[in-house]
């Protein structure tokens, strides 16, 4: 196998292995399926171009998250969609990953689950842009403080304080909505 073929094969396995979770992280940061698709695609194409320069200082997942979070931040800055994200996200379909109870799911429980999902989604979307990636990477992707710091280029102390403040904001928002 030649070097370019080897690279292509490595790249394909990287995309297949990490594609879904990178998409999920970007989706949670942007709160919009169409944008998440575009940004994830852009991030993976950037990763393809930079693959030869990847020295393996961080894990492949950390490297990909870093590219994807930078792309998501750039996207938010360029499009100034904060205002749009603060409005109720009507008509946006949330695809739950293997969480449905299948065909036997109680309609009432499905309704409440959907409602709860929407509430959390709106609360997440109300978070300022710099707090969103921290909470997504910790509570959804389950990464460590060290990994989050490495992805976002911030210290562990900053990760901790942003996480603390983000949770406070989420808690207040969810309490407000439930009241």
């Amino acid at each position: 196998m030649t070097q370019p073929e080897q690279n292509d094969s490595d790249y394909a396995s990287i995309v297949r292995e990490h594609g879904a979770k990178i998409y999920n992280a970007v989706y949670c940061v942007l709160g919009n399926a169409t944008d998440a698709e575009d940004v994830t695609q852009e991030a993976f194409l950037k990763a393809f171009r930079a693959l030869q320069g990847f020295k393996g200082e961080a894990s492949v997942a950390t490297w990909l998250y870093r590219i994807a979070m930078n792309a998501a931040n750039d996207h938010l800055r360029k499009n100034k969609r904060y205002a749009r994200m603060r409005e109720p996200l009507e008509g946006v379909e949330l695809k739950l990953a293997d969480q449905s109870d299948g065909p036997f799911e109680n309609p009432e429980s499905a309704f409440f689950k959907k409602e709860r999902t929407e509430t959390i989604k709106k609360a997440l979307a109300k978070l300022p842009a710099k707090f969103r990636p921290v909470i997504v990477l910790k509570d959804i992707e389950g990464l460590s403080y060290k990994e989050i710091g490495s992805i976002l280029g911030i210290s562990i102390g900053t990760v901790e304080s942003r996480l603390f403040r983000a949770r406070e904001m989420l808690r207040k928002e969810l309490t407000r909505v439930s009241n």
Partner: protein, 164 residues
């Protein structure tokens, strides 16, 4: 919720960011601290709610589409990746740095101009206050003794007189 100085430790505990010994110390604190226990409970429920509810799947064959698009891309030329490697954060500072350099240039230019005008003022001062009459007399004097005397007078007049 009340306040406890160790509330941030509660967060680290809930996030599994503590070593075993630290965990044991915190657990003994949490056993007597209602604020930390309440916070732990809240963080746990928030974490599980977010983690459970927000998972989204990419569109069908999304990964294959990316692989195909990457396959159609030309390999990057050497040096082409420079701007990509600079990073979005660093790129953001480039215009600000350029502006700062430009400002520094203007400040330095203005300072030089000020020095220049100070020198002009000094030259004008010499021109208007210098006692040319005596100086001319010195130049016109036939004998060297009176020339020296006139020149001395002109210089002492200009410098405000000599010490007696």
């Amino acid at each position: 919720m009340g306040h406890c100085k160790k509330i941030k430790l509660a967060q680290r505990y809930a996030d599994g960011e503590m070593a075993a010994r630290e965990r044991a110390v915190f657990e003994s604190h949490a056993a007597v601290c209602g604020v930390c226990r309440a916070y732990l409970k809240e963080v746990e429920s928030l974490k599980s709610a977010i983690g459970r509810e927000q998972a989204a799947n990419p569109p069908y064959l999304f990964e294959e589409k990316i692989i195909r698009l990457a396959g159609e891309m030309k390999p990057p030329r050497p040096g082409e990746l420079f701007w990509e490697n600079v990073g979005s954060v660093s790129r953001r500072y480039i215009p600000a740095t350029a502006l700062a350099c430009l400002l520094m240039f203007f400040v330095a230019f203005a300072a030089l101009r000020t020095d220049d005008s100070a020198a002009t003022v000094a030259r004008a001062d010499i021109y208007y206050n210098f006692p040319f009459e005596n100086h001319e007399k010195a130049l016109l004097a036939s004998d060297s003794e009176s020339a020296a005397e006139n020149l001395y007078t002109s210089l002492t007049d200009y410098s405000g007189g000599t010490d007696e």
